[in-house]
Symmetry: C2
Subunit: 320 residues, 2 copies
């Protein structure tokens, strides 16, 4: 019998979001738990518990997709490395598949979100686009000719560690002035704090439980209320983001760039300055072709939706 429901789980540094969807992309059940701040085994247990509780709501699902904030190998079974979770060469899909008795595939969270937007969101009209996720860090998922680009090892789309300003602040990756350092949610907060002199401190935000969400929401709310400092912080993030995106547009020539991730909930506050910066960089390119700049539609569920669909496809939307 063909399954009528799919299961997708998105694991980030702070929370695990799971959903059951029907083949139209409608979420029929959704659940969120906090990510255990402990060892790999307790995180795996939390994912197992999440999958089990989703299966209670959809006992005909045959596949489980897991979107991970990390680098996933091309076979979609191993977490090669995660900057936020304590995994290195972790055979996560193998382990969970054995425990659940179901097919489990992994995908990078930005790739999964890009696929979600392609199937059910802002990317439905485009076979060549990329999604840039702007959260605590920056990721990207690239769809080309209607297929998800993975690269030779599964690591394609690391826009966050391309360089906008080689004289910029140092990045943990070893380079300076990466998009990640200049245009992420953390960068938004830093710009805001620097401009304000004193400000919303990281420790205050952390006490609220969700550091980046609180930061993003607070600054977005201030910008919506017309706070010039918050607007300037968005302008600076948009400037750097547009420049980073411009380089990827030159190499990839998409029909559209879609902005997603937590910070993109700010909508036009982020899209406007980003598009303006991008257009300033693309004068020659745009004398010939146009690239649309859109905001993602699926919100925080994009990764779970995308990876649920990816898991349902035999072999996935890849050429090989």
């Amino acid at each position: 019998m063909t399954p009528t429901h799919w299961i997708g789980i998105d694991i980030g540094a702070t929370k695990i979001l799971g959903c059951v969807l029907d083949p139209t992309g409608t979420i029929v059940y959704q659940k969120t738990v906090l990510t255990p701040q402990a060892d790999p085994r307790s995180i795996e247990d939390a994912l197992f518990d999440m999958a089990r509780s989703l299966l209670v709501e959809s006992n005909d699902a045959k596949t489980v997709g897991i979107a991970v904030a990390g680098w996933i190998d091309r076979s979609r079974r191993t977490v090669l490395f995660s900057p936020l979770l304590p995994w290195s060469m972790e055979p996560l899909a193998h382990n969970l598949s054995a425990r659940l008795g179901l097919t489990v595939i992994l995908e990078n969270d930005a790739n999964a979100a890009a696929w979600g937007e392609h199937e059910f969101g802002a990317g439905q009209s485009f076979d060549d686009f990329f999604l840039v996720t702007i959260g605590s860090g920056i990721g990207a998922g690239i769809v080309t000719d209607g297929l998800l680009l993975r690269g030779a090892h599964g690591l394609a789309g690391e826009l966050g560690h391309t360089v906008v300003d080689p004289n910029g602040p140092p990045c943990p990756c070893g380079r300076r002035g990466c998009v990640n350092i200049l245009a992420s949610g953390r960068a938004l907060q830093q710009h805001f704090e620097e401009l304000r002199g004193v400000g919303l401190s990281v420790s205050q935000a952390s006490e609220a439980g969700e550091e980046d969400a609180v930061t993003g929401y607070s600054i977005t709310a201030a910008a919506r209320a017309g706070d010039p400092i918050a607007l300037q912080a968005f302008a600076e993030v948009g400037e750097s983001l547009g420049r980073g995106i411009a380089d990827l547009v030159m190499c990839h020539d998409p029909a559209a760039v879609i902005l997603g991730g937590g910070v993109a909930a700010a909508g036009e506050l982020l899209r406007g300055p980003t598009e303006a910066s991008l257009r300033r960089c693309l004068v020659a390119h745009e004398s010939v072709v146009q690239t649309e700049v859109l905001v993602a539609l699926l919100g925080p569920s994009a990764g779970a939706l995308g990876v649920a669909h990816l898991a349902s496809l035999q072999g996935g939307p890849y050429t090989t």
Copy 2:
């Protein structure tokens, strides 16, 4: 009857190189003429004459591929724009096809060269790589999952206009510090001249008929002879080239990067500093995976070889 020979022509700013090859990629006839420095019509006439003379050597060829130093639309029939040739929205394939009575397809020269290396050269072992062509300008052709990446409009691979240093010298594209400005054959000459104080002037080189070849050859010869200024010029070009390539590696995750174009005839003089710069940028990436850096094998015929093969494939090596 299946054709046993293919025809490929590569048109650049200074010369037109045509070849007839057999399906093993062996060149059975080759011819070069100077590019007319006049109007679009006289260039088209030169291409027509070239195709006719190649057909005399291979009267069973049914397709003609033309690699163009410019932007080609996705249908492979129109030159959207060329920075070096007087074409804009030129229906070149249509015009030549009507005059020759054969199928004619166009392709960007770096894309064509990448495909040539994939089929017959240094890219034969790789389904995910990119070729960077370092000539008077910088181009790139991206092969992903064994297919040539074109992008939404056919313009993918414009690595030359990604930015290495936003405070660098201005580029005609409107940005500053593009790879093209810092790492091309022209940049090599400029670095050399600046370091030497006085030097090989553009006018002297131009008098010899092939500005970039003379420049490249002269500086390469000096570097081979141990000239510290020439070696430093290669070091500076390699440093910028490695940084630009690093950003594309982060986004594309290739198994290999292949250096081609006229300047790559310098071999290890260019490859060594470029690889060293790239490795410095890729510390985090390379903690997980390795990317090879190779020199192209096909020399100046890469584009003609590649486009001849592309033209022979019904629909081309694309997913759509």
